[in-house]
C-alpha cells in the first residue's frame, strides 16, 4: 500500500504560508496514495508559476517545463509511455492564458491525462497581475482601474467542447478535492480539475472566506453530470453561489488516445524492434 508519506520529499517549499496551494498538494498526495500508485509510476508535468512548482514538493517523476506548456508535454509523454499516470499541473495564467490553445485542443485530442489548474484568479509568481479568470473590477498594479475583460470560464469552454471529465474543487476542502482528483485520474480520457485556490498574498478579493461563503457541492444537489446542457448552465453559475464537484462527464468511448494507430501494448518508449526499411526503399526504384 502506498501512503501519503511515500510522496513526501524534503525539497524546501517556496510558497507563502497559508496559501491555498498547500491544500492542493495535500489533496494530490492523498489521491495518488488512495489510488495506490507508486511514485515512479507517476509523471507530473508543470509549467511556470507558483502552481508550477508543485511537482517539486512531491516524490514522483517530474517534467517542469515552460510557462504554459505542461499539457503538450504531458500528452506526448503519455503517448510515449502509456504505463505512466500523467498529470499536468499549472496556474490559471499558465493553463488558460499562455497555454490556452493547448487547453482547448487537448480536450479535442482527449488523451488519458489529468489537468489540474490552481485557479487563484491572479498571476502569483510575477507578483499580482490579472489572470484570464480574474473577476471584473479586480484592481492590480497593471490594471489600476480594475479588470474589464470578462473572465475566461474553463468549465463552460471544456463542456462546450465535450470534454469527458469536467470538475471544480476548492483548495479549502482537501477531502472533497482529493476525491475529485482521484476520480479525475481514474477517468479514462482528458480530465479537468479546476481548483479555487486562494492566493493570500495578491488576491484580496477571492479569499478563503469569499470562496467558503459561496461554494457548494454539486453531488449534494440533483445535478446530473451526464447532461451537457445542465452542466453548461451550472458552469455559468458564479457569484453568490459557486458549484464544486463534477460538472460533466461522459464515460463511454471517450478516449481517442486508444484509437491511435501505432500504439502498441508495450509503450513506445520501451520498443526496441529491428527496423527493416527495405520494402520502403523498394518503392523508390
Amino acid at each position: 500500500m502506498t501512503t501519503v508519506k511515500d510522496y513526501s520529499n524534503d525539497v524546501e517549499n517556496e510558497w507563502c504560508p497559508g496559501c491555498g496551494n498547500f491544500g492542493i498538494l495535500k489533496a494530490i498526495k492523498k489521491a495518488l496514495s488512495d489510488l495506490d500508485k507508486m511514485p515512479h509510476e507517476v509523471l507530473m508535468c508543470s509549467g511556470i508559476g507558483q502552481a508550477g512548482k508543485l511537482p517539486h514538493y512531491l516524490k514522483c517523476n517530474i517534467f517542469n517545463g515552460l510557462h504554459g506548456r505542461a499539457i503538450p508535454v504531458a500528452t506526448a509523454a503519455k503517448i510515449a509511455n502509456h504505463n505512466l499516470t500523467v498529470i499536468a499541473v499549472g496556474g490559471d495564467g499558465d493553463m488558460y492564458g499562455e497555454g490556452g490553445n493547448h487547453f482547448v485542443h487537448n480536450i479535442r485530442r482527449n488523451p488519458d491525462i489529468t489537468m489540474i489548474a490552481h485557479d487563484n484568479q491572479i498571476y502569483g509568481l510575477t507578483k499580482g497581475q490579472a489572470s484570464p479568470t480574474s473577476d471584473i473590477g479586480m484592481k492590480t498594479k497593471l490594471q489600476p482601474h480594475g479588470v474589464v475583460n470578462s473572465p475566461f470560464n474553463p468549465l463552460s469552454v471544456a463542456i462546450s467542447l465535450g470534454c469527458s471529465f469536467v470538475s471544480r474543487g476548492f483548495a479549502g476542502d482537501v477531502d472533497h478535492l482529493s476525491k475529485i482528483i482521484g476520480q479525475a485520474i481514474d477517468h479514462k480520457g482528458f480530465s479537468l480539475v479546476d481548483i479555487l485556490q486562494p492566493c493570500v498574498t495578491f488576491n484580496k478579493l477571492n479569499t478563503f472566506k469569499w470562496y467558503r461563503e459561496r461554494v457548494y457541492k454539486l453531488e449534494e444537489t440533483d445535478h446530473d453530470p451526464y447532461n451537457q446542457t445542465r452542466a453548461f448552465e451550472k458552469a455559468l453559475e458564479w457569484g453568490e453561489k459557486i458549484p464544486t464537484g463534477i460538472f460533466y462527464r461522459t464515460d463511454e468511448n471517450n478516449s481517442t488516445f486508444k484509437d491511435m494507430r501505432g500504439l502498441t501494448p508495450t509503450p513506445l518508449a520501451y520498443l526496441d524492434e529491428d527496423i527493416d526499411i527495405s520494402t520502403l526503399v523498394k518503392e523508390f526504384t
Binding site: 517545463g65 515552460l66 506526448a76 503517448i79 505512466l84 485542443h105 524492434e273 527496423i275 523508390f284
Partner: protein, 574 residues
Amino acid sequence: MSVDLNIKIGGEAGQGLQTISSVLSKTLLRGGYNVFESQYFLSRIRGGHNYSQIRVSNEEILSKKESVDILIALDRSSIDQHVDELSGGVILIDKNEIDIEDEISSIFHVPFSDIANDVSGNKLYTNTVATGAVLGLLCYDFEYLAEVLTDYFRSKGDEVVQKNIDAAKAGYDYSQENYSQKCYFSLQSIDNTSNKILITGNEAIGLGAIAAGLKFLSAYPMSPSTGALIYVAQKADQYNIIVEQAEDEIAALNMAIGASFAGARSMVTTSGGGFSLMAEALGLAGITETPVVIYIGQRPGPATGLPTMTEQGDLEFVIHASQGEFPRCVLAPATAEDAFYLTARAFNIADKYQIPVFILADQYLVDSSFTSKIFETSRISRDRYILSADEIESMDEYKRYRITDSGISPRAIPGVAKKLVIADSDEHNEIGHIDQTSENRIIMNDKRLRKTEGLKNEIYPPRIYGSERADLTFIGWGSTYGPLKESVDILNKSGFNVNLIHFNEVYPLPAKTIQKIFSDVEKCVCVENNATGQFARVLKIETGVEISDTILKYDGLPFTTDYIINQVHERKMI
C-alpha cells in the same frame, strides 16, 4: 556517348503536371538513367504558372539545368515563359487546347486531349497521352512506361491501368509517326540492373527518421517540410510511429520534447516561420538536455515570404535561436542520399549529447527528386545511450544532471525503474530540482557548454571535391552541393583548376581541422542561397577562416551550374 537531356513540363496548378513529371522520371530511372527532377510552383492550388523539370543523364547528376530540350506546355504561358530556354529543343503542345497564332518552328503538335478521348474515352487521360508522346519522341522503350503506369495506378483498378497504358501508347505512337525522324534525341535504355532509387529530399528525411527508430513525430503543416511529415504519416502504422498534427508549432516541439523525455525518439518538421514559434522550446530542450531532432525546410523569409520557393536564409537564426547559451548541432544535407544518412545520424547525435539537432534543408533539396544508390540500412546504427532498469537500480542515487567531464549525464527515462527522473526548465541541481544559487549555476552552465567540445570532435570535416590545390575554391553548404560539384567538373574540363569544399555538418565546427584544410586554399568564394552570406560569417566566427568573396542568390530560386559558371566568368574569378 554522354546523354544530358532536360525536359520541362509547364502549366497551371491543378493541371496535373506533377503526375506527368513523376511518371516520366520513374520511367527514365527504370531504364537505367540518372534523373534529377525539380519543381517550381506558386503558393496557390489552381492556376498560375508552375513547372517541373526533369534532367536525364547516364552520368551522375545532382542539379538542374537551364537550357531545355523538350518543353511540354500545358498552357500558353508555358510557351511564353520558356521558349527562350530552348536551345535547339522542341515544344510539345496540343494546339487544339492552346491558341498559337505565331508559327514557332520548334513546336510539335500532339492532340493530347482528342487522343485521350478517342482511345480511353475520357479527357482525364490527356496527361498520360502527353507522357507517352514525350517518350515516343525519345524512341524510349515503351515497356518501362507501361510498367510504371501499372504501379502508379494499381490502386485504382485494372481498368484505369489499362486505359492509361492505352492512352500512353497512343501518344507514344503519335510522336513516333509524326516526329521521330525530326527528333534529335534518342534514349536507349541502359544498365537496367543498377540498384538506383529516385527520391525527394523530404522522403529521404522521412525514411531516415523511420530507419533511425523514430517513434513520435509532431508537427504543424508548413511548406516545404510537409512532404516529410506526410511520408512518415503514411508509413507510421508499419513502424509503430505516432504522428500527431499539433494545434501550433509551440505544441509541436513541446510535445516532441515530452515524448523524448519519456523515452521515444522524437522529431518535428517545420519551416523557418514555424520554427520561430519553437525558439522557446528549443531552449527547453537545451536546459532539460532532452534530445530532439528538428527538421527545417528553409524557404525565403522574412515572415511568410515566398512560401513555395527556396533559400538558405535561416542558418544564423537556427544557430542562435532562444535566450541563453547551450549546445546544439546543425546538419545540412547536400543531396537526398545525404539527407537520409544525416537524418539517422541526427538522432544518434541528439541522444548521445542530449541536445537538439537540426536537419537544415531547403525547398530546393526537399522538393527535388534525386537519383541515388539504394539506401543501405546496414550503414545506420541506433545508439540510444539510455540507462537500463538494472543500471539505474544499481546506482545509489540517480542524478539526471550528474556533473561529468564530458558534460553528458547518464540518462534514464521515467517509469523504467523505481528511481525518479526529474527535469526542469529552471536552472537546477544535479537531481533536477530548482537551484537558484550562483555556485550551482556556474557548474551547470559549464557542464552543458562542455558538450560542445565533444560535439566538435564528432563533426565530420567538409567534403573536398576536385584537386587538392586549386586556383579557385568554391565553399558551399547544404543543397548547393549538386550545382557546385558540376561547376567544378565543367570548369576543370575547360582547363581551369577549381575545387569545392562543401559542408554538410555546419555547426559547431572543429576549428583546427578546418583551418588546416583552408591552409591549402588559394582563393575562395562562398556560394550561398541567401542575400548576406551567412555561412561565410559562421565560418569566420567558428574557425577564423575568412572568405572575402561570395556568390549569392536570393530570388527564391536555387543555383544552377550555368549561373555559377557565369558569375565566375563575369566577375573574373579565374
